[in-house]
């Protein structure tokens, strides 16, 4: 093939302080090709692209466009050279229409006329097969429409080289397919497309060539046709990695958590969960699939007692184990009253009689955990406080986009973060630091957390290690139900598989695992059953072993009421 070079990077190096983000990277992109840039988190792929897009300026090395050396100091320079980058987080003004966003910042000499711009946007859309209404406001648009606006924005400015940063992260499989079709059409039109991703199957399906980065260095660029997923992973990680998730058949399955007709409204009165009913079973992983923001977060928060329900029941069938009354933080008078009603028993099963005891004696009995509740094994979590729900063994580990937002305090060390969950258990006026410290040591050791010590502030650990600490702490409490939301968010392949294995371990030990994931391929490999939600409603609960990706994808965007129930 005799192809023209569109952009060439020679010996590009970029450092941030003492960290080398890119070291002596050479990269060539031809006209009319799709190049995938592949690498683990923190390998420097985004930094490299940001240097082409004018966000960073390289410390050393040079960039050539059409054979001429260029200096790209700002995004405006990049535009002038025909380079357009579509960021992962869209840069659009919500209140403006698509056309207004497209024309924004474009200071060509022509008179400002939004109707003309709308027409031009339509033309570009028709040429490449986008579906878009130029006069629609951004806040009315779906994620994929917003992405379309971003792409048209760079095309409108005459971009010849397009960089897409993880474009499929927010799309359903169908939307991704449509995007890829458009990208192929643009390639055939002679444009160069660079796509950053860490989804291997996408790399294999869309790209012509793959450039692999590892720890800031360019490892190799290979033709997609001549490579396999295994070979790419090996180059990416630097050693052989097995990409199989162990999925043993569930054993000793019991209904653990039964959610019935749960509905919830948000602060603005909009229904975020609508009549949700499902069962989470012990020894099983229940996956929750759906486009981001379909109500996954709200559902888990409702179960954990963090958000009030509008209606519905959450029935928790507790594994047979009665809890000490001390867990419920009852006052002394409450304890006496409950004892009179015959609500307590001792560990050996004999009933508790507190008559004739001094307050001090009663308090000692309670604090030592000798008095147990005669509670039913079935309880409705709806009436319980978040603390009680946690104590009976329903644990939530939620990893938000910024990783530290919920569950861990960034400036505190690992031990202190462990203590956040246990400080109530010490009975003196001083906190017990011994047990949290032991737990921290255990988590660090068993989960291979890379940290200088357990007294390092969590914020200074890398993303994967932070998530291991978070998940590890919840697992350590030996939960009956473990809810993990996005536990692998932003993690590289290696760390992700560690987390998947952790979840499978929990499943084997009889825990009911609820896993909210983003990557459909993983959900299909890991989960026993998959519940799909769309706009706050369940659109189907399917068997993870037999369902196909396309079926799940369809359910993710289904809006009509006929739901699919197979399991």
């Amino acid at each position: 093939m005799n192809k023209q070079i569109a952009i060439e990077m020679k010996g590009v190096t970029k450092t941030f302080g003492s960290v080398i983000a890119n070291n002596n990277v050479d990269l060539t992109v031809y006209k009319g090709e799709i190049l995938a840039v592949l690498g683990e988190n923190g390998c420097g792929k985004t930094t490299l692209m940001n240097m082409i897009a004018g966000i960073y300026y390289p410390d050393a090395g040079s960039i050539y466009i059409d054979g001429k050396e260029v200096n790209i100091h700002s995004p405006a320079d990049a535009f002038a050279h025909g380079i357009g980058m579509i960021h992962q987080h869209f840069k659009l003004v919500d209140l403006f229409t698509a056309a207004e966003n497209v024309i924004l910042g474009n200071s060509s000499g022509e008179r400002y006329n939004i109707a003309r711009v709308s027409g031009e946007v339509k033309q570009i859309a028709d040429r490449y097969g986008f579906r878009i209404d130029p006069d629609k406001k951004i806040y009315d648009m779906s994620v994929s429409e917003k992405q379309t606006v971003e792409i048209i924005k760079v095309l409108y400015r005459g971009a010849e080289i397009l960089i897409l940063d993880e474009p499929s992260a927010v799309l359903t499989p169908q939307e991704t397919d449509r995007l890829f079709e458009v990208l192929r059409r643009m390639r055939d039109d002679g444009k160069s497309i660079i796509i950053i991703t860490h989804k291997l199957h996408e790399v294999l399906s869309i790209s012509d060539r793959v450039a692999i980065l590892r720890k800031g260095e360019h490892i190799a660029t290979v033709n997609t046709k001549e490579t396999t997923a295994e070979a790419l992973t090996e180059m990416m990680v630097g050693r052989k990695v097995t990409l199989n998730i162990d999925r043993p058949t569930p054993e000793n399955v019991q209904d653990r958590l039964v959610v019935k007709n749960l509905s919830m409204v948000d602060i603005e009165g909009i229904k975020v969960l609508d009549n949700i009913s499902f069962t989470a079973r012990s020894g099983e992983i229940l996956g929750i699939a759906g486009i981001a923001g379909s109500g996954q977060r709200e559902l888990l928060e409702a179960i954990a007692g963090l958000k009030p329900l509008e209606s519905g029941e959450i029935i928790f069938n507790r594994p047979k184990k009665n809890l000490p009354v001390s867990f419920y933080h009852k006052s002394l008078s409450d304890v006496k009253a409950l004892a009179a009603e015959n609500k307590f028993h001792y560990e050996d099963g004999t009933p508790v009689d507190l008559t004739g005891m001094t307050n001090r004696e009663i308090r000692a009995l309670v604090n030592e955990g000798k008095i147990l509740f005669n509670e039913d094994d079935v309880m409705n979590l709806r009436d319980k406080t978040p603390l009680q729900i946690r104590e009976v063994g329903v644990r939530l580990s939620f990893v938000p986009e910024d990783r530290l937002g919920m569950g861990l305090v960034g400036n505190m060390d690992i031990v202190d973060n462990m203590m956040l969950r246990s400080y109530r258990k010490s009975h003196s006026m001083f906190v017990d630091r011994k047990r949290p410290s032991d737990l921290a040591d255990r988590v660090v050791e068993e989960l291979e957390v890379v940290t200088p010590s357990t007294h390092t502030a969590v914020r200074r650990l890398s993303g994967g290690n932070v998530q291991k600490v978070l998940v590890g702490r919840e697992i350590a409490a030996a939960p009956a139900v473990l809810m993990a939301a996005y536990p692998v968010r932003g993690l590289d392949i290696n760390s992700s598989y560690t987390i998947y294995n952790l979840l499978t371990e929990q499943k084997k030990s009889g825990v009911a695992v609820v896993f909210v994931g983003e990557d459909l391929d993983v959900l299909l490999e890991l989960c026993d059953r998959i519940m799909v939600i769309c706009a706050g409603r369940i659109t189907g609960i399917v068997d993870g072993r037999t369902v196909t990706k396309e079926e799940v994808g369809l359910l993710m965007t289904k809006t009509d009421s006929d739901t699919k129930k197979e399991v």
Binding site: P75, H87, K91, V93, D94, L95, F96, L104, S107, Y112
Partner: protein
């Protein structure tokens, strides 16, 4: 007081609000909540009057033009100080704005009380020029001076620029989402400085208008601050739309003067009711706030980044 008179006076008073409000809208569209508007309006009046002191004896046209230019410069200077603190140094906008108001009111008192000694010669001589060219009479439609028409023209021009031009589109983008504006190559800092300084200059004219046209008295400068706060409230009332603010300012004028018309309608409220009636504009603003907060229509909300300093992402 006759009813027609009441309406005409309300319109005239409303122009003070209109200038202050248009200036604040321009500033807020760039994402900056300038609570210094009352102080800036005071400074606008003071600097205009200061110029008049040195214009004594000049032809009327020059007198008015120079006073307006001085007022614009005074306001723009205040705007520049505010921008430097909030845009460049990223200081808290509320605190900075309140400080500007305190500062402006204080400086104005100092300047104006000094000139009050021979006010007629120092600045009040120019009253007749400000009421020109339409009439020199002080009542009825004919009393409307040149600055009233200027106020309406500025409001119309602002509405046109904001909705129909590239500059307006960019300015709104800066106020809605500065990171996006920055990414497409709009100079966010320049727009913020520009909008704040121009907005302050427009608001400053409100102060000059109030002293030299509407009131025309030595004591006038003392009540500007209160009107300044009403102008800020008017911005919320008009939902950040300069066209609505023309009607809104007249309504505010009528509400503010309601205490003067009600007794003539045969209702006797007594002296103590006057201050209560003067609260009416604020009550109306609160009602509007409640309604718009309930309706949640995106177009009726304040600019999304209002009050939030913009830090360019470094990594």
């Amino acid at each position: 007081m006759m009813f027609l008179d009441y309406i005409l006076t309300s319109v005239a008073l409303g122009m003070t609000f209109l200038l202050g409000c248009t200036g604040e809208i321009l500033t807020e569209k760039a994402g900056h909540l300038n609570l210094g508007i009352p102080g800036i309006m005071c400074i606008g009046g003071a600097s205009g009057c200061l110029a008049l002191k040195y214009c004594y004896g000049m032809p009327g046209f020059f007198v008015v033009t120079l006073a307006i230019i001085a007022s614009i410069l005074g306001g723009a200077l205040m705007g520049a100080i505010y921008s430097f603190l909030t845009v460049t140094l990223k200081a808290n906008q509320n605190v900075t704005g309140l400080a500007m108001t305190t500062f402006g009111v204080g400086v104005t008192k100092y300047i104006m009380s000094g000139m009050a000694i021979d006010a007629t010669k120092n600045y009040l001589y120019a009253l007749e020029y400000f009421r020109a060219p339409f009439a020199k009479s002080t009542t009825g439609l004919n009393s409307w001076g040149v600055m009233m028409y200027l106020a309406i023209a500025i409001a119309l021009a602002s509405a046109y620029v904001l909705s129909r031009t590239r500059v307006g589109l960019h300015l709104r983008a800066v106020g809605e989402n500065p990171a996006t504006a920055d990414a497409v190559g709009i100079n966010v800092t320049a727009y913020k400085y520009g909008a704040t300084c121009i907005g302050s200059a427009v608001a400053a004219l409100g102060g000059l208008y109030y002293i030299m046209d509407f009131m025309g008295s030595v004591e006038a400068y003392k009540t500007i601050e209160a009107l300044g706060w009403l102008s800020v409230a008017l911005v919320i009332f008009t939902l950040w739309k300069p066209l609505v603010s023309i009607v809104g300012s007249i309504l505010f004028g009528m509400l503010y003067l309601a205490s003067s018309i009600i007794p003539s309608l045969g209702i006797n409220l007594g002296m103590s009711a006057t201050p209560l009636l003067q609260m009416l504009p604020y009550v109306v603003t609160i009602i509007v706030l409640v309604i718009t907060s309930i309706s949640k229509k995106r177009e009726n909300q304040p600019p999304a980044s209002l009050g939030i300093p913009y830090f360019r992402e470094e990594r």
